[in-house]
C-alpha cells in the first residue's frame, strides 16, 4: 500500500553568496516532490534542476542524514528543523507538508553563527565552548574494570538524556534571545551525573559560560522554546542544573577558571 503523493511546492529560500553578501529570499517553483522524500532530498531535487539550468545550487549543511550528526541546520517556516517535534531536518518528510504549500527556508540566525553561504552557517562557536570545558581529562591506560565505578541507573539516565545532544544549534536558532543555554546545560549535565565528570565540575561550567558570553550568545529567558524544538528533546532541566553548578562553583569558591589561572 502506498500513500505516496506528488507535491507542488512554492519555496522561498534564503540565498547569500558569502559572509559579506547581504542576501535575500529567492522564490522557487518546485513541482513533482514525492511525499516520501526527506526535506533534504527535496533540496537535492531542486539543486539538480538548478544545475541543469546552469544556476548555482542551494548550499546547505548535511552529513549523516539519519538524525545523529546535527549538521542539517535550517529554519523551515519559522521553526528550526521544521514543524515536526523531535526530528532533524534530514528526518523531516515531505508528507508533513501539503500540496501547494508555501515554505520559507532560512539559515539559523545567531550573531555567533555567521552565515557562510545560503543556508550554511558556521557553528564553530559551539565547538569552542566544548573546548573551554566540555570534556573530562582522563589518563588513558589499561581499560578499567567495567563495574569498578558504580553509577546508579537514575544518574546514568539523567546523564544520557543530556548526552543525546547532537550540537545542531537549534536551541540557539529558536531562542528569542539567541542563547546557547540548552547546549551548555547539556554539556554540563551529562558530566555532572557521572563520577568522572565531577573532578572538573567547577572549572567546566565557569569556563564554558565565559566562552558562551565571549561568542556573543544571548542570555536564557526561560521561555523553553529550545526544549520544544530540540530534535533530541533535551529538557530545560539541564539549564537549571547548569545554573546550580555555576552558583555552587562560584560560592563555594572553587571555580578556578582559565582567567584566574593566568592571573597567578
Amino acid at each position: 500500500m502506498s500513500t505516496q503523493a506528488n507535491l507542488h511546492l512554492k519555496l522561498h529560500v534564503w540565498r547569500q553568496k558569502n559572509a559579506s553578501d547581504r542576501g535575500g529570499f529567492v522564490e522557487y517553483d518546485v513541482p513533482g516532490v514525492s511525499s516520501d522524500m526527506s526535506f533534504l532530498e527535496m533540496f537535492d531535487v531542486l539543486n539538480e534542476r538548478l544545475i541543469e539550468k546552469g544556476e548555482e545550487p542551494v548550499a546547505f549543511d548535511h552529513d549523516c542524514r539519519e538524525g545523529i550528526c546535527g549538521m542539517c541546520s535550517m529554519v523551515i517556516n519559522g521553526q528550526p528543523h521544521g514543524p515536526k517535534r523531535g526530528v532533524t531536518t534530514c528526518q523531516l518528510h515531505m508528507r508533513t507538508f501539503h500540496d501547494g504549500q508555501e515554505i520559507w527556508v532560512e539559515p539559523f540566525r545567531s550573531s555567533a553563527f555567521p552565515v557562510v553561504k545560503d543556508l550554511v552557517v558556521d557553528r564553530g562557536a559551539l565547538d569552542r565552548m566544548v573546548q573551554a570545558g566540555g570534556f573530562v581529562s582522563v589518563r588513558t591506560g589499561g581499560a578499567p574494570d567495567a563495574n569498578a565505578t558504580p553509577i546508579s541507573k537514575v544518574e546514568a539516565d539523567l546523564s544520557m538524556d543530556a548526552a543525546a545532544c547532537i550540537g545542531c544549534g537549534a536551541c540557539v536558532a529558536s531562542c528569542k534571545n539567541g542563547s546557547a543555554a540548552l547546549f551548555l546545560g547539556a554539556q554540563v549535565s551529562k558530566y555532572k551525573h557521572l563520577p568522572q565528570g565531577l573532578t572538573e565540575r567547577h572549572e567546566r561550567v565557569a569556563n564554558m559560560m565565559a566562552q558562551a558570553d565571549l561568542e556573543g550568545f544571548g542570555a536564557c529567558g526561560n521561555q523553553a522554546e529550545c526544549e520544544a524544538v530540540c530534535p533530541k528533546e533535551i529538557p530545560i532541566r539541564v539549564i537549571a542544573e547548569m545554573y546550580r553548578e555555576y552558583l555552587r562553583s562560584t560560592f563555594t569558591g572553587r571555580a578556578i577558571g582559565k582567567q584566574d589561572r593566568k592571573r597567578t
Binding site: 532560512e106 534571545n177 539567541g178 522554546e225 555555576y246
Partner: protein, 242 residues
C-alpha cells in the same frame, strides 16, 4: 616560583566573574525581582487598610510619616532604589545583550513554547517602570495636587488626608482605568517572572516546575487583584468620601 605552581584564586575574582557574566545578570534579575515582589505585597496590604475607613487609613499613613517610622520609611526607600535600580540595570543589560545575539532576524517566526508574557518581559517591565514614575509623581510627590488637609486639624499635627487623596484620584475614571491597566501589566509580567526567577536560581523538577508555573500565575493575579480592589472600591462606592 613555588606559589605559581598552585593557583590560588581570590574569592572576589570569581564572584566578580560570575556577577559580570550573563548568568550573573540573570540571577540579579531573579533576586531583585523577588525582592520587589515581596515589598509590593506589603504595599498592597497597606493599601487595603483603606477598607477600614478614613480614620484608620489616615492613622496608618501618618504613622508611616512619623518620627518613629523614619528608619522604616528611609530603609524601605533605600531598599527600593537598590532593588529596582539593579533590576532595571540588569534587565536593560540583558535586553541589549540579547538583541546583539541576533543581529539579523527571521522572516517567519512560529513559537511553540515561548509564552506571550515571556516574550514581552522587557516591554511590560518598561510599562511598569513608567507607571511607577507617574504613581510616585501622583501620590508621593503630589505633582497633581497632593493630599488635602483634614477638616479641623491643627498643625503641627499631620493634617494630610491620604484617604481623601486616594478617593479623589480614583473618582476620575481615567485615573482608575490607568491604574487597573498597570496592575494587569504587573500581573502579566509576574506570570512569567516568578517561575523564571525560580528556574534561574536552579530550582527545577518534574513536580516542582509545573507547580512553580502555576504559582507564578497565582502570585501575579493575587498582587494585581489586591491593588485593583482600591480603585474598584472607589468606583463601586465601597470607599466613599468622608
Amino acid at each position: 616560583m613555588q606559589a605559581a605552581a598552585t593557583p590560588t584564586p581570590s574569592a572576589g575574582g570569581h564572584v566578580w566573574r560570575f556577577l559580570t557574566s550573563s548568568l550573573g545578570a540573570k540571577v540579579t534579575m531573579a533576586l531583585t525581582g523577588l525582592g520587589f515582589y515581596a515589598w509590593l505585597c506589603l504595599h498592597m496590604i497597606g493599601n487595603l487598610e483603606i477598607f477600614h475607613g478614613a480614620h484608620f487609613f489616615n492613622g496608618y499613613a501618618h504613622f508611616l510619616h512619623s518620627n518613629e517610622a523614619k528608619p522604616l520609611l528611609w530603609g524601605s526607600r533605600v531598599y527600593l532604589v537598590v532593588v529596582v535600580g539593579l533590576h532595571i540595570l540588569s534587565g536593560v543589560r540583558l535586553w541589549w545583550l540579547n538583541r546583539q545575539a541576533r543581529a539579523v532576524g527571521y522572516r517567519v517566526r512560529r513559537w511553540r513554547a515561548a509564552s506571550l508574557a515571556s516574550r514581552t518581559m522587557i516591554w511590560t517591565g518598561v510599562a511598569v517602570a513608567v507607571f511607577v514614575f507617574f504613581h510616585l509623581a501622583h501620590f508621593t510627590w503630589g505633582w497633581f495636587g497632593g493630599a488635602p488637609a483634614i477638616a479641623g486639624c491643627v498643625p503641627p499635627a499631620d493634617c494630610k488626608d491620604a484617604y481623601a487623596m486616594v478617593h479623589q484620584a480614583f473618582t476620575n475614571g481615567w485615573v482608575a482605568a490607568g491604574y487597573i491597566v498597570a496592575m494587569g501589566l504587573i500581573g502579566f509580567h509576574l506570570w512569567h517572572a516568578v517561575w523564571s526567577a525560580l528556574q534561574t536560581l536552579g530550582l527545577n523538577g518534574p513536580k516542582w516546575t509545573p507547580f512553580a508555573k502555576k504559582l507564578g500565575l497565582a502570585l501575579g493575579v493575587l498582587l494585581a487583584v489586591g491593588f485593583v480592589l482600591v480603585p474598584v472600591g472607589v468606583l463601586a462606592n465601597f470607599i466613599v468620601a468622608h
